[in-house]
């Protein structure tokens, strides 16, 4: 990879803005197109791009596989936990209005934000996990045979 100077420089330049854009899509999802799934994919793309250009070992130092697997589960836990919390407040599963009974819209706003966060975390982690799973495979055909 020492050969690709231009790609390395551009990747370093772009990884930060891509993560920032992912967070924008994540937390602006209730006002504009976007939401948890898209934000998670964009977030994962930053790491996948970094991995493609700098190699799998470098990106695994930044985002270790054990953390990826924990985060994939954590997102589902956030999503399901929101639903269970609304059950404990005496409403139906994932009924956000129960969070703030005096002001249902407020609760709905918070509820959708938290649920989308859970979706985003899971999607980002699963995307990176899929990339790790594919990239860590030894090549079936050696480089000389291409």
């Amino acid at each position: 990879m020492r050969h690709h100077l231009l790609l390395r420089v551009i990747t370093k330049l772009l990884v930060g803005p891509i993560i920032l854009f992912a967070l924008y899509v994540q937390f602006h999802g209730d006002y504009s197109p976007g939401g948890g799934f898209q934000a998670g994919v964009i977030f994962a793309v930053a790491f996948i791009l970094f991995g493609i250009v700098f190699g799998l070992s470098k990106v695994k130092q930044v985002f270790p596989p054990w953390l990826v697997h924990k985060l994939a589960a954590l997102g589902v836990l956030i999503y399901a936990g929101t639903g269970v919390y609304s059950l404990m407040l005496g409403a139906t599963y994932l009924n956000y209005s129960a969070f703030t009974p005096d002001h249902p819209e407020h609760g709905q706003h918070w509820g959708i934000l938290i649920v989308e966060l859970g979706v985003g975390v899971t999607v980002a982690a699963v995307m990176v996990a899929i990339y790790y799973a594919f990239a860590a495979r030894p090549p079936v055909i050696s480089d000389e045979e291409w």
């Binding site: 551009i10 330049l13 772009l14």
Partner: protein, 132 residues
Amino acid sequence: MSALDMIVEVASWVAILLGSAFMLIGAVGTLRFPDFWSRVHAVSVADSAGMLLLTLGMCMQGGFTLVTVKLIIIGIFLFITGPTATHAVANAALVSGFLPKGADAFRKPKLIVDKETKKIKKKKRSPLKGKL
């Protein structure tokens, strides 16, 4: 509508139409050019120019709003990534030994040898072939 608004409107539509024309020319070039290198050249250059003009035109349509800021950010992003993608594709093609049409003549200049010399060389070499 004041005169300034009119000028901005006309300028923005000129930019948008010119950008669309660039995009169209790039697309036609991609389809019709003979080999890989000229196609990459057509699509990369025309795309960058067309994208810039389209963004400029849409910025003028947007005025001083958040839309214009987003368009400028998109424009900067595409202005960086487009040529980078072209570079990556062209670099990969060159490294894997893909040469432009007619470039073999530049890569390996053919030695112009007349028939007599060839025959002599062959004769000189041929007796050794069996022994080696």
